[in-house]
């Protein structure tokens, strides 16, 4: 079988004109993409609010940790009040 001869049949496929309405549809799609995008001002506003919230959370977290370290531990309370740490209640 001569495959080249067979493939010559593909030349019967003619070139077609693109439909006229395609450009209108393309323009519409491009416009939709532009409308869907948030303006630059809004994008910066969202980023700065996000950074502000992150800094606020971080500072609260650091402050709480620092206060916790400064608080006297339970051992110092027991010593100051002369409390027994033994579980032996009958003093045998």
């Amino acid at each position: 079988m001569n495959i080249d001869q067979k493939l010559e049949q593909l030349k019967q496929v003619q070139q077609v004109e693109a439909p006229h309405f395609l450009l209108t549809r393309i323009r519409q799609r491009i416009d939709n993409i532009h409308h869907a995008e948030a303006p630059l001002k809004w994008r910066w506003a969202f980023v700065s609010v996000g950074v502000l919230l992150l800094v606020l959370n971080l500072s609260i977290f650091l402050k709480v940790n620092k206060d916790r370290k400064q608080q006297p531990g339970i051992e110092s309370y027991i010593n100051a009040m002369n409390l027994s740490t033994s579980n032996d209640i009958y003093h045998e």
Binding site: L7, L10, Q12, V13, V16, P19, L23, R25, R29
Partner: protein, 179 residues
Amino acid sequence: MTDPQVFETIYHEHKNFVYNLCLHYTLNEEDAQDITQEVFVKVHQHLQQFTPEKALLKTWIGRITIHQCLDFLKARKTKKRFGFISSLFQKQSNEPIATALNYHHPGVAAEDKEGLNRLLQIIWSLPANQQTVIILSKMEERSQKEVAELMNLSIKAVESLLQRAKENIRKKLTNTEGL
């Protein structure tokens, strides 16, 4: 931001090339129109990235079109593969799955359709790069140099792909005719 007038000039210069290439891949007007739209939206979005030193505008647009068409065909094959599973859960599916059998290529005359049907079906079943090489060299009648540029391959690679594609088509045609 692409200048609308520049974009329109590019569109008018390349619309038929893109549309026909899409038709050869999809064999269906509606799908070809959808892909053509996607291609030109991409061209509009990425025109700033185009470097004339690397390739011609037509080659660049051609590559976008080929990628878009192959992505579309891959998605359709996946959809078809999972179609059986989804059909178990959905009683009726309104979306038809196009095959080479029910194609509607406006460039094929009704009297030629019968003869071309089997050949197009075989081209459809080829691996993506062999399918591309046949479409570009036989349906679009591009030179091997142009095909190599469009596929981003060497001329030698295109020649070998074409040989493999022809061999595969020959085998498949013999198989079907032998039945």
